[in-house]
């Protein structure tokens, strides 16, 4: 075998390792019910859940409980299937959290009742979508 071939095989091997590891480490988008089912089966891999914060009838966010030293908190989230879930996040409340239109939590179930988020992504109302102009000083 020529050196070139060995080299080529080596490159292909590394590329395959890269692809396999990507597929292995890639997370998935789940709903709370599928995520809970995964946890029951003993899979602890962190997953993504997309949803909204729980709101009461008047549209204000409810269910945010901040711990006394303000460095962690609980909140209620409703996923796209409508499942309600209590979530814990071991970080201070992100700025403007209650205004988020959509939240993505990355994490896994701690036990049957509680989902623990390692990371939260938020989609806030973009300023481009704002249609209100301040008409002061007309």
């Amino acid at each position: 075998m020529k050196k070139g071939h060995i080299l080529g095989l080596g490159i292909i091997a590394v590329a395959i390792i890269i692809i396999v590891s990507m597929i292995g480490d890639a997370s998935t988008y789940e709903s709370f019910s599928t995520a809970k089912a995964m946890k029951m089966k003993g899979e602890d891999k962190p997953i993504h859940v997309v949803g909204e914060l729980k709101k009461n009838i008047s549209g204000t966010v409810e269910g945010i409980e901040v711990n006394p030293n303000k460095t962690s908190f609980y909140f209620m989230m409703v996923d796209n299937d409508g499942t309600e879930q209590k979530v814990f996040y071991n970080e201070p409340v992100p700025p403007d959290f209650s205004r988020a239109e959509q939240v993505v939590v990355i994490g896994s179930y701690k036990n049957e009742e509680l989902f623990v988020a390692d990371k939260i992504l938020m989609k806030c109302p973009s300023k481009y979508q704002e249609n209100e102009i301040s008409t002061a000083g007309m």
């Binding site: 490159i11 890639a26 962190p46 460095t71």
Partner: protein, 844 residues
């Protein structure tokens, strides 16, 4: 009044730039393939077209800047990216905050580069400028803003706000102009954001040049000659792109609060990948120049680097990343156009390459293990694999989109722990690359066989091991993989320094580019290993609280709550939060908000007391104080060690109506480490929810408690005048003087009680820092007591995260050395090209 003139000029310039780019492309096509006799005519024609294009391109930029600079908020771009309060240098940032502005920036760079190429090339002008003009046509089309039926081509930066939004106000008054814009994203209000985007876009723009030379070389069958003029530009491009990446990393480090300089965010990855490929391409091009091998791999890499820049643009701007990235642009509906732009050049490049593939000269001989070609090729392959490893997962949203396009469902998400995921590959690849640079450089400058190599490497190896041992012992590097990184890094530095020393001694500094850049790489490796691998959160589990859920006690709390004035231990330091401050124009220091009263005017306050700094009086009581970006609060946190004052850090945060709380870190720089701190949560003063009334009857001279504060009632005082209230004859006004003690701070609260005929007026004293409101509820003459009504909210606080980043300066110095290395190499290669061109051998 609405000024439509500037916008019309701008829009006209856009159309002119688009048309002239197409005309120039046509002209240069004819010029390239015309007969010798017709060439001068086509040359003049194409040049005129490109000059017109240049003037138009620059006019677009001037028109847009005019709109921003003169606060023409009738234009949507100025309204949504700028505001009255912005200083001029941030107006420059607001120019390229939006997508349209950044496309204009890119267009302008291409214009300037095109003009340089026209005047530095003889033979290559035609084919290279043909590619340039085509690229320009695509770029200008992104800001064309033409709508044909349902088809929207480009998004114009010159549209008026009344056309962009359908607010009801425009039906009443179509000429309505908003008073103020919505401002620049506070994260971009940073000096690095003024210079980082132009650098990055210059990097983007310059990747076009080697690509254009290559396309020209293929089309005109100059399969080997394109390398010489392309090489200095490829190195220049890698240098500028690298600088752009580093500036971005530095900006992230000093303004963002995600805790570091690199986060493997898709937007960062999208720039990192083309850079890696370009660097690999440079190495194969240099090999080709020395020994006529690796031409085909150079071609593939140069094409890939340019297409990857277009792919990066597509990823970041098409909205496909969606929630996957912290900072991607909003979708302007340009995804289709961006995709066509990328696929067009991909198709052209692949077509030309395939068509000419069998004519491209290759070297038949097998590279020996003891040849430099072999080692450089391995190095370039490693770089390409590094790029592959990053771009593949970064594109997960694209894979999902493709699967969904064909009706499938894909729920793949990016890795949950991005930093860990990328690091475990990139770290080891970087170690391999570092080792290869050391070995490769020895091969490069010397003829080597196995024995000679061993002899040459023994000394650097021994020195590197000794230095590593010292680093490992003194830096306490006990992790096995970090020990390997340290060894690789020091070996790279020592081996390349040896080469550098020999080169400079023997010949000239001009040849030292490679070894300098590689020394930089070694330092970056060690710097990253320490500052990231050994970064340590020191604001760690400090509350001492236990939680109702016992499992929470096992979690590490990485943030610390600092109440105002209360000393809190943070590892070796005692930190005390001392209140909020503002930045004042013309003052070298920040000013506490207690000294200022805010007015209704933007960026203006009134001094409540004399403002003095280092015995110099800056403002007298009652003066107007000009502020810089009044929405920014700087939180003063003093650090003590064993009761000795050490330093103060002022991490910033801004409450932004559009974006919520924005937080920027502040770091204490030491030679061997940084103490990096940022504010992660703050108290909200707006609309405090006051708790229930508490009543205290107190005699003068008596002490009582408000919350935990010892409060002394020092007595009442009859007033003859009050600010803001006109007293009439017969009115009685009494001020109660309360001294509140909070740790080492004494504060005075002075509520006022007014009796007018049978009515009672009360002016409460409010202290937001202490979260206390006091009113004189009544005066009880019979017992000589005052009755105080107290409401509490909560004391001011900040939640802080503090991280130690060891040896981060090695990283920054390494990047600078690497950039210097690039510059030396550019100089050498350009010098070479110039000499050949002037001999008339340009196309040889």
């Amino acid at each position: 009044m609405i000024n439509t003139f500037v916008g019309n000029v701008g829009h006209l310039a856009v159309i002119l730039a688009f048309v002239s780019a197409l005309v120039a492309a046509y002209g240069y096509y004819q010029y390239t393939f015309a007969q010798e006799l017709e060439k001068p005519v086509w040359k003049r024609f194409s040049r005129v077209a490109f000059y017109v294009h240049s003037v138009a391109g620059i006019s677009i930029a001037v028109a847009l800047f005019e709109i921003i600079y003169n606060h023409r908020f009738e234009y949507f771009y100025a309204y949504s990216h700028s505001s009255m309060a912005l200083p001029v240098h941030y107006m420059i940032s607001s120019f390229w905050e939006g997508q349209e502005g950044s496309f204009i920036l890119w267009i302008v760079w291409n214009v300037l580069l095109g003009l340089i190429l026209i005047h530095t090339n003889k033979f290559w002008e035609g084919p290279v400028m043909l590619v340039f003009a085509l690229v320009q046509a695509f770029l200008v089309s992104m800001i064309l803003g033409v709508v044909i039926g349902d088809l929207k081509i480009g998004s114009s930066p010159f549209i008026l706000i009344r056309d962009a939004m359908s607010a009801p106000i425009f039906q009443i008054n179509p000429d309505f102009v908003p008073e103020d814009g919505t401002g620049l994203n506070p994260l971009l209000q940073n000096i690095w954001m003024v210079i980082h985007p132009p650098t990055l876009f210059l990097g983007y723009a310059t990747t076009l040049i080697p690509f254009a030379y290559l396309m020209g070389g293929l089309a005109t069958r100059k399969y080997t000659e394109w390398v010489r003029p392309a090489l200095p530009w490829a190195i220049f491009s890698a240098m500028v792109l690298g600088m752009g990446i580093i500036m971005g990393a530095y900006w992230a480090y000093v303004t963002l609060n995600f805790g570091g300089y690199w986060n493997w965010d898709p937007v960062e990855n999208a720039v990192y990948v083309p850079w890696l490929i370009l660097v690999a391409g440079i190495h194969t091009m240099i090999t080709f120049k020395k020994s006529s091998t690796a031409l085909k791999s150079s071609m593939v890499l140069i094409i890939a680097s340019f297409i990857l820049v277009l792919y990066a643009t597509f990823l970041v701007r098409s909205g496909v990343l969606g929630d996957a990235s912290v900072h991607s642009f909003t979708d302007l509906g340009l995804s289709g156009q961006l995709l066509i732009y990328m696929l067009f050049f991909l198709a052209v490049a692949v077509f030309l390459a395939i068509r000419h593939w069998k004519h491209i000269p290759t070297s038949e001989k097998e590279a020996s293990v003891y040849s430099r070609e072999f080692w450089i090729f391995i190095g370039a392959t490693t770089l390409a694999l590094m790029a592959f490893q990053v771009i593949l997962p970064t594109s997960i949203p694209v894979w999902n989109a493709i699967v969904e396009m064909f009706g499938g469902i894909s729920n793949m998400a990016p890795p949950a722990d991005q930093v860990g995921f990328y690091t475990k590959f990139q770290l080891w690849f970087a170690v391999v690359v570092a080792l290869l640079t050391a070995v490769g450089q020895f091969f490069w400058w010397n003829k080597m066989d196995g024995k000679a190599l061993r002899e040459a490497l023994v000394m650097p190896y021994i020195i590197a091991v000794v230095i590593s041992a010292l680093i490992i012992v003194f830096g306490k590097v006990y992790d096995l993989s970090y020990i390997v990184v340290t060894l690789a890094g020091t070996f790279t530095i020592v081996a390349n320094a040896t080469i550098l020393y020999r080169l400079v001694k023997k010949s000239t500094f001009k040849l030292a580019g490679g070894s300098l850049a590689h020394i930089g790489l070694g330092m970056i490796l060690i710097g990253v290993m320490f500052s990231s691998g050994y970064s340590e959160v020191i604001s760690y589990n400090l509350s001492g609280l236990t939680y109702s859920n016992s499992w929470e006690d096992e979690l590490n709390k990485e943030h610390v709550l600092l109440w105002i004035n209360k000393p809190t231990q943070i590892k070796d330091y005692t930190a005390i939060y001392r209140g909020r401050q503002k930045k004042v124009k013309g003052m070298p220091t920040l000013v506490n908000v207690n000294k200022l009263k805010f007015t209704d005017n933007v960026n203006e306050a009134i001094a409540l007391e004399d403002i003095v700094y280092r015995n110099k009086l800056y403002f007298e009581k009652g003066d107007r104080v000009p502020l810089i970006l009044e929405e920014n609060d700087y939180f003063q946190i003093d650090y003590y060690k064993e009761d000795q004052y050490q330093f103060t850090l002022n991490p910033m945060s801004q409450f932004n109506p559009q974006m919520g709380l924005i937080s920027s870190p502040d770091s204490r720089r030491f030679l061997s480490r940084d103490l990096y701190t940022f504010v992660s949560a703050i108290n909200d003063f707006e609309d405090p929810e006051w708790r229930e009334d508490e009543l205290y009857d107190v005699s003068p001279g008596e002490n009582f408690f408000i919350a935990d504060f010892v409060t002394e009632f020092q007595g009442g005082e009859v007033l003859s005048q009050i600010d803001g209230v006109a007293l009439r004859d017969g009115d009685v006004a009494v001020k109660a003087k309360l001294m509140v003690q909070d740790y080492d701070v004494e504060k005075y609260l002075e509520p006022i009680f007014i009796i007018r005929e049978n009515q009672i007026g009360r002016i409460p004293a409010i202290d937001h820092e202490l979260g206390v409101k006091v009113e004189v509820e009544n005066i009880l003459p019979e017992t000589n007591q005052f009755s105080f009504k107290v409401n509490r909210y909560q004391k001011d606080y900040v939640v802080l995260k503090a991280i130690i980043k060891p040896q981060i300066n090695i990283l920054w110095i390494g990047t600078i050395i690497m950039l210097i290395g690039f510059c030396v190499a550019i100089y050498r290669r350009y010098d070479e090209f110039k000499k050949m061109r002037d001999k008339g051998l340009e196309n040889n």
